[in-house]
């Protein structure tokens, strides 16, 4: 027993020595909710991390597949203890854990993705993916013949609802009579269920499918049925060469590099960073040849208008699913309202629960 105790103590001392030997580099930590290998949400963030890792004097590390809640708090806490200078937490469920740790480590900068809380040393950030969704919606609206578009979606949270709404408004810009049907899978990642959900939408006559999911199963369903599809997260055309029209994609790299630079220079402010098309954090992939040139031009023109700030997507007149007027002409939804969007615009068929 004594020997064991001695062993334990010596191991403790040794490991403490390991921890002390931290480098002088600026350390940036990333916490991901799913394995990076999945080519979805976390993968897109990790592409951003790789861009940061190329900066001189910067060291990055990540922990993947971290469950939200207690586990997340511990992982973030650990990074802070180890002297990481800047920590990005990339799932909405990390919001409270990030805040708790931020309070304990006032000299570490925390950035939480997709939430709404800030503190002295904690900011939040997100991309205006809804702008890219709107553009992809335009493509869908132009290409549908049945006027039914299927949307396979993960969880009814504002981020997803906002995307569905923007997409629907884009559809209606090109095709006012078209409707968007939503099926919730209640999972970010279950290819078989996603594919089944896609098929259920095909059965009710959808001829363009899109998704807010991490796997390309929906693209595959569209390809097999011979209808069109619109991707998300990254260009998914290799999964559905004939079906894939366009995708709404993330480019986190420039944003992450900007944040690292700001924190190192001391110009970083704890606020909500919500960048859009203009900064390139979201965009659309190149459109397929099947999309007529006239449509492509129109989409690119609108892309420019959004980027220049000339076009606001959630602007009045705007009615909700039940026909109730939410915005009159001349009004526009504020960022705060957008962040907490829990209702569907007119033209969406489905429940928000």
């Amino acid at each position: 027993m004594k020997k064991l105790a001695v062993c334990l103590v010596s191991l403790m001392i040794l490991s403490a020595g390991l921890a002390m030997a931290a480098s002088q580099d600026f350390q940036v930590g990333f916490v991901y909710v799913s394995p990076v290998g999945n080519a979805g949400w976390s993968w897109a963030h990790d592409q951003g991390r790789l861009a940061v890792a190329k900066m001189p004097g910067v060291k990055t590390a990540y922990v993947e597949a971290v469950a939200e809640g207690q586990d997340a708090e511990r992982v973030i806490l650990n990074m802070a203890r180890k002297g990481y200078n800047l920590i990005f937490t990339t799932s909405y469920g990390y919001m409270d854990p990030t805040l708790k740790v931020a309070r304990k480590f006032p000299h570490t900068v925390f950035m939480h993705c997709s939430g709404f809380k800030t503190a002295k040393n904690m900011g939040n950030y997100f991309g205006r993916m809804y702008q890219a969704r709107y553009l992809t919606g335009m493509v869908a609206g132009a290409m549908t013949k049945s006027r039914i578009i299927g949307y396979v979606a993960a969880f009814p949270i504002p981020e997803v609802i906002r995307g569905i709404n923007a997409f629907t408004l884009g559809v209606q810009r090109m095709n006012p009579a078209a409707q968007v049907r939503v099926v919730w899978t209640k999972t970010w990642y279950d290819p078989a269920t996603e594919k089944e959900a896609a098929k259920s939408l095909l059965d009710v006559g959808a001829d363009v499918l899109t998704q807010h999911q991490d796997s390309p199963a929906v693209q595959e369903a569209a390809q097999e049925k011979g209808v069109y599809s619109i991707g998300y997260n990254s260009d998914m055309s290799k999964f559905a060469p004939q079906a894939h029209l366009v995708a709404a994609v993330w480019h986190w790299g420039p944003f992450y590099r900007e944040m690292v630079t700001q924190v190192r220079r001391g110009t970083w402010k704890p606020k909500a960073y919500w960048y859009g098309l203009k900064k390139g954090i979201v965009d659309i992939s190149p459109m397929a040849k099947t999309v007529p040139a006239a449509v492509q031009q129109k989409v690119m023109a609108v892309r420019q208008a959004i980027s220049d700030g000339k076009l606001k997507i959630f602007a009045g007149p705007l009615s909700d699913q039940a026909g109730k007027v939410r915005l009159t002409a001349g009004q526009a939804l504020t960022d705060k309202q957008l962040l907490g969007m829990t209702w569907f615009v007119k033209g969406v068929v489905g429940s928000t629960q």
């Binding site: 403790m12 490991s15 597949a65 469950a67 809640g69 409270d96 949270i157």
Partner: protein, 355 residues
């Protein structure tokens, strides 16, 4: 001339011997892990050191491992009681969810009660909800002869979707910008931390209930009856043991304990109810319970070690950038090796020279 083995059950397995065998098994599995790390091109010795350091190698690490062990321990204690009677409760996950639901309901409806009233009330609600969720399969088993494995497993899914429904719907915090979470609990509803550290008083609850269950199972008549019935239902019936009552009792207790874990997670760790409370503790609990041979004291140890392993693996991930799946592989291998090793605790092999 050939060799022959003779395998026989050990008559009196000695403590020291068992300990050494298990230590050897753990050692072997760590060697396998080191080899795997080497194959990855990572420094294996440093890897094992990091694993240990992350799990038990500092005050923080010990604290983290203890906190993580709390829900696993309670759920495991619960299922162990049921397993003693050979009732296959796979439903700790759902009972845990219901416990969290019950406690949250109280916390959300009576936020202004003083803590010494509110927290016991939450505990009672968790006990009732978790207990009832455990009783349901027990009643179906006794009345309808429905197999408890399938019922408890299915009830897990239903409980999770029920929790989902509430936090996405009626219980959603109006100021959460539409995110699926309830309002933050009032300070009175949050189980306090011990001193300045991160450890909460729930750990004390675990110690007390762990001791109580140990005494109950080992030294009371009812505890004896549970074990006797579990070993042989027919004989126990013959001895007029109240089998049905025992089934109800163990399932209610099992559910209540898992419910407590849900209460502590919601109150002390999350300070609210949200879907991320479901982290699979209910399933981990089954592994822990059997690994500890259904002994409450060993369950405490096994829960702590397994929690430590998971905490330590995070360290390994962060420092050496190995994928999360590597941690799973290690956990699986360690469990398998320890399990295989337990053979040498129970049996002895002798080499016989064949003439």
């Amino acid at each position: 001339m050939g060799m022959r083995f003779k395998i026989s059950r050990r008559q009196n397995p000695r403590r020291l011997h068992s300990g050494l065998v298990l230590l050897a098994a753990v050692g072997l599995s760590l060697v396998i892990c080191a080899l795997l790390l080497e194959q990855q091109g990572k420094p294996s010795l440093r890897g094992l050191m990091l694993l240990f350091q992350g799990a038990f190698g500092s005050g923080w690490a010990l604290q983290d491992s203890l906190i993580k062990a709390v829900p696993i321990f309670l759920c495991s204690l619960g299922v162990a009681i049921a397993f003693r009677l050979q009732i296959w409760n796979i439903g700790a996950e759902g009972q845990y969810a219901l416990g969290a639901l019950g406690a949250s309901w109280v916390a959300l409806h009576f936020p202004d009660l003083p803590w010494f009233v509110l927290q016991p009330a939450m505990l009672v609600a968790a006990t009732v909800c978790g207990g009832l969720w455990g009783l349901l399969p027990a009643v179906l088993k006794l009345r309808m002869r429905a197999n408890e494995i399938i019922i408890t497993l299915m009830l897990n899914y239903i409980a999770i979707f029920l929790l989902d429904y509430l936090v996405y719907g009626p219980w959603k915090d109006p100021s959460s910008f539409g995110f699926p979470m309830t309002r933050m609990f009032s300070q009175n509803a949050v189980v306090a931390k011990i001193g300045a550290g991160d450890l909460h008083w729930g750990i004390l609850l675990c110690l007390v209930i762990g001791m109580l269950v140990w005494i109950f199972l080992g030294f009371t008549r009812l505890g004896y009856e549970i074990r006797a019935c579990g070993e042989n239902v027919q004989a126990a019936r013959y001895a007029r043991m109240p089998y049905a009552a025992l089934v109800l009792l163990v399932m209610a207790a099992s559910g209540a304990l898992a419910g407590w874990a849900g209460f502590l997670e919601a109150s002390a760790s999350l300070n609210r109810l949200e879907p991320s409370i479901m982290a699979g503790y209910g399933y981990t609990a089954i592994v822990v319970a059997w690994l500890a041979r259904l002994n409450p004291l060993f369950i405490g140890l096994a829960a702590f070690l397994l929690a430590g392993l998971r905490v330590g693996v995070e360290q390994l991930q962060l420092e050496l950038q190995i994928p999360a799946s590597f941690g799973q592989i290690m956990e699986g291998l360690i469990l398998m090796t320890v399990l295989g090793g337990s053979f040498f605790v129970t049996y002895q092999i002798r080499l016989l020279k064949k003439e």
